[in-house]
Assembly symmetry: C2
Homo-oligomer: 404 residues x 2
């Protein structure tokens, strides 16, 4: 089955919104073995939207659009759909009732304009939108499937998971086996050199690298499950502990599971990451079982008052130092009476550099049952990247300690 995705909205062409929808749909469709051959973005222009839908329906078996279903006058997808499919828009009382119900749940009155959203093309099926007011739309015609979904990512995803994927699953069989291996702490070109032989051998498994500044994901695709597993095992062995999980799993999930399994608790003391490590831990529902507290000790005074880092130490070694990282980790472990204490201190940039301490320098401190230590990193020059990478390295340090 060949598919095309069309994302609609001036804001996508002019870049005022990043299109995350087509990436999400691409991933979900390729997991079903559906091949995406083309992705197109068009603006809020009825002619261009119609043309894009028309062309896509000619080429592909499945077309999914996102966006342009809102209540306002620049939302034109339904008008284009009825034009292409030569149908009328029909009002549905039961859709209106659901929309009104959504507003009632939030305790706010429904603006009149939202009534528009109870209109859908004749002969189409409405797909429930649990988070918003625009239902998804499904049209089946001449063995082609057409879905129009809202552009708000959460709404689009929920409709996809509760409706679209079930419908597609019945129409396809999985043609490809896929695995995504997640790594951190090793650059793409190092992985490349380590697995060069596998890349060049005729294994029947396609290997792709998906680098980001938090790590490199390795995607394996094969028509043979057996071959996929063989290559997977080899790569995992080569990667050693740089591999941390599969599929969609996040590093904080891995760390959380390990802490839960080992019945250990953790607390954090953050300086340069400013709360990001705590935020990542608490991304996980149920993290209160193992995450006790955090302190964001941004000032020197707070490091002394909350964590007992002596002023002399801060003066002598500087706040960004191995010694202070260790004392911060020990301090937060002590005050929270957790099994582990984790800390970060660094120069995120762009200011704060000294001759001995460049932007990008970061120390991660860790205190455990018997000892404590700090790990030194030199990241790059971009503030945001440095903070994200420091948090990632901190989580990874805990993972490596727990996996030992």
């Amino acid at each position: 089955m060949k598919a095309e995705i069309i994302t609609i909205g001036d804001e996508i062409l002019s870049g005022q919104t990043t299109d995350t929808n087509s990436a999400y749909l691409g991933e979900k469709l390729s997991q079903l073995g559906i091949e995406i051959t083309f992705k197109t973005s068009v603006g809020d222009d009825i002619k261009n939207i119609s043309e894009a839908i028309h062309n896509a329906l000619n080429r592909a078996d499945l077309v999914i659009t996102t966006g342009g279903l809102g209540p306002t006058n620049d939302d034109l997808t339904k008008k284009a759909v009825v034009k292409v499919f030569k149908r009328n828009l029909i009002f549905h009382e039961e859709i209106l009732k659901k929309i009104e119900g959504n507003f009632r749940k939030r305790g706010i009155p429904m603006p009149k304009i939202n009534q528009n959203q109870a209109l859908i093309p004749q002969g189409s099926k409405a797909l429930d939108n649990q988070w918003g007011t625009a239902p998804g739309i499904l049209i089946e015609e001449r063995r082609k499937l057409f879905f129009a979904l809202p552009g708000v990512p959460l709404e689009m995803r929920t409709i996809t998971e509760s409706g679209v994927l079930n419908i597609l699953q019945k129409k396809t069989k999985t043609l490809f086996f896929q695995k995504r291996l997640k790594t951190t702490g090793i650059p793409e070109s190092y992985i490349y050199e380590k697995i060069e032989n596998l890349l060049k051998a005729k294994t029947g498994v396609k290997i792709a690298f998906l680098p980001s500044f938090l790590g490199v994901d390795i995607k394996l695709t094969s028509e043979s499950e057996k071959r996929l597993i063989e290559v997977e095992q080899k790569i995992k062995k080569i990667l050693e502990n740089n591999f941390y999980g599969e599929g969609d799993i996040t590093l904080e999930e891995v760390v959380g599971k390990l802490l839960l399994e080992k019945k250990k608790t953790i607390s954090v003391a953050e300086s340069c990451t400013g709360g990001l490590i705590g935020k990542r831990f608490t991304n996980i529902s149920g993290s209160s079982q193992w995450f006790e507290r955090g302190v964001i000790t941004y000032s020197n005074q707070s490091k002394t008052e909350l964590l007992g880092v002596p002023e002399e130490f801060l003066e002598k070694h500087g706040a960004v130092s191995e010694q202070v990282a260790i004392l911060m980790a020990e301090g937060v472990k002590r005050i929270s009476r957790t099994d582990y204490g984790l800390s970060s201190t660094g120069i995120a940039g762009p200011t704060g550099e000294t001759p001995e301490k460049p932007v990008g320098l970061a120390y991660i401190g860790f205190a455990h049952e018997n000892d404590s230590f700090a790990e030194k990193h030199i990241f790059g020059e971009d503030r945001n990247t440095n903070r994200e990478r420091t948090a990632q390295a901190a989580l990874n340090l805990v993972r490596l300690f727990l996996e030992k």
Copy 2:
């Protein structure tokens, strides 16, 4: 000048990577008055890449590709470019030296495979890549401009800002005036109803809504600066204090500037947001001038020990309550001796709901010179969205207080 953007990589079609590059380029080009007519994504397939470049060069005056310039064998853009332009790849010693220099700066040896990246098409210009190893490439031919940029966002952006935009600026004149008004705390359909007259009137100004779960941006575009300003003034008046800034500014930047101007300091005590408010404050370089510290009091014990919230209070009202939010804000203000204390406590979900306290309930506490109070919100059911919206509402509360 008409432009097309082509993003290259299997990972984009299959959705394993979200394409943020085309959004960024779309925004930058439209600021120069360059119209983007088409955005295409293709996979790592030399035939498809060549075809996409060929078609785009036929239709547009300017074509920019991103991706496929890495050192590994699935990076095919340069091969496609030399095919389309009928040129050879030429080795440049001075590019190799720069790449080697980048590795040296990071203190790691250059893998041999990176030598490939010193090859660029004959007659093309290399654009310096300060953050990575693949230079950008510029080809000018028959009044058409073609840029091939790396896919790593930071690298692509830096080359765009240090090279591409200067080159384009010389070739265009700004045709459109644009403004982006940022709002928070008011839904899209409410804004729509409030400015419906302006939307329907022939003002010569195009008004577009860009909603996200943190707020709605309103984008104004006009060929007349005077008309744009007229409409802008009217909208700002209607929006009142839901408007918080223009262009790329973030809410944390607005709050940071206000605190700096008023010479006030702040500290935070976070429960449900788990560090996110601190993270957002410390996104701002120089935030140490006004952000003193934060505590992530995830457990009840930490609320008592660090902030002095009495155990009886937690038992009587529950951790998610107006009273506890206020005591948390007062507590963190007291221990950090800042002018203001800000707090969050809520049920982010999916678990933790009680009959009286639904998922999505959040209290934001604020303590200032004379008094303290808490604000109640009921957000939705998605954990991540609830946390992001709580942090946004907390920053907005501080902004509204400071703007009074």
